[in-house]
Amino acid sequence: MNPYELRKDFPILNDETLCYLDTAASSLKPRQVIERLDEYYEKYGVNVHRGVYNLSYVATEMYEEARRKVSDFIHAKFDEIIFTRGASSALNLVASSYGLNHLTSEDEIIVSELEHHSQVLPWQNVSHITKAKLVYIPLDSEGRITVENVKKVLSNKTKVVAINYISNVMGYITPIKEIISLAHEVGAVVVIDAAQAAPHKTIDVVDLDCDFLAFSGHKMCGPTGIGVLFGKKKLLDNMPPIEFGGDMNDNVNLYDASWKDVPYKFETGTPPISEAIGLGAAIDYLLSIGLDEIGKHEFKLKEYTVKKLKEIEDIIIYNESAETGIISFNIEGVHPHDAVSYFDGDNICMRAGHHCAQLIIKWLNVVATLRVSFYLYNTIEDCDRFIESVRNARDFFKSVGF
């Protein structure tokens, strides 16, 4: 794969001074996706599942075609794919529907400090309401979830294991396949937050045997406002809807109603139609490049950058051994918000803060971190610009007394 060629697909990168290193928050969008969105609005921008006229038929076909693309993308079945507003709503759906209806005070939910708030908070809520106990996997010395440590907390009481595939702060890949198999041995279901995995590596839900898996479109070249929940059919069939309204129902009576089959019972109201179609286009785009190629490229950029950063004084890197394209670091003595304004001045977009993952920031015992994350459109030149800016920032802050 050639990032210099791929960059031409991203209109925003026409600004050659822009150095975008915040893909973990949201990726840039290629022309191929933007055009597919325009096409919907210009040629068949009507509602789905409702109209009995031709245009609505076309819109419905395109929307459902996107579902097929998503299901192929992760090797799931067509009706195991629920469209949501994003990874956050997908994870909330599992917690509110499966969690609130299956757990009791006798049960335990396993999570970790390495989770994004949208994976840990829905389960905190389930724990508060059902009195099921929230149990944290002890992280190893690098801050990783290990199979060994999962074994320490897994028991016959465990009903749910809710963990990430790739951490948005540390960029570690969780050994989920082994964990899923262990969890199944004690009868627990496993919910995987794949928001940082889907854009960067091939996912096969059959091979993983995971029960639920969630991700967002906007981090993988797709539009905002669209996410995916995969769930095993037999689990989804036995879960109640959490939102009620148009489109999700079958027969409606005065005092009760019945629901459509999965996935439609979980998709009430007019869905994010253009967004789903755009996500389909994003999947086409990523597959045409090859996810594993993308992953390798990001990792190479990360390794290069880490090596150079280590030559600069006062730089603390928190996740040197990450297998992906994410670097979390700080300039010693400089608050990340002070630092990030310096990078902003150089037109380098990157993140400072707790990255919606306060638990791992507390675990690291820092107030916040700086984070860069690479993607298919980043180049060695981006890395060099960033490294140069870090060196200048460090010198600047030291010179004014930090």
Partner: protein
């Protein structure tokens, strides 16, 4: 390239390194307001003691970036000893200055004027205003 230099070289570093009026007191004559900016982690508590319409004392504590912490210190120095009316006027003038709105240039902002540069960094305006907002909160409480 970087406008940061002028910003940091001035009062900001001095107050960041040597904050004035820092540390909270346990005294019921002080009104306390705590503001947290969850998206960036800035966390500031301001205590104000008002007597006969005068700001007798301001204390602050918290964590955050240099802009955030130094502005709490500068705010405390600027407003201590002022009447409530003047303090409110200075505070609203300061906030208007930060947010690029029209402001009354005849109001004496003292050292707080250096934060004018922050208006060039929209993403940092919150950092520079959080302590002042908390101060305004302590006055509302006391009414």
């Amino acid at each position: 390239m970087n406008n940061l230099e002028t910003l940091y070289r001035q009062v900001i570093m001095d107050h960041y390194k040597n904050p004035r009026n820092k540390g909270l007191v346990t005294n019921s004559l002080y009104k306390t307001i705590h503001i947290k900016n969850p998206s960036c982690g800035d966390d500031i508590t301001i205590q104000t003691k008002v007597e006969n319409g005068l700001i007798k004392d301001i204390r602050h504590d918290g964590t955050g970036c240099s802009i955030c912490c130094s502005s709490a210190s500068v705010m405390s120095e600027t407003l201590k000893g002022k009447t409530i009316t003047d303090a409110k006027k200075i505070s609203s003038t300061y906030i208007n200055m930060l947010t690029n709105q029209e402001y009354d240039t005849s109001v004496e902002l003292e050292d707080a004027i250096v934060y004018q540069g922050v208006s060039k960094f929209p993403a940092r305006i919150k950092c520079a205003s959080i302590a002042w907002k908390a101060f305004e909160g302590t006055l509302e409480e006391s009414e």
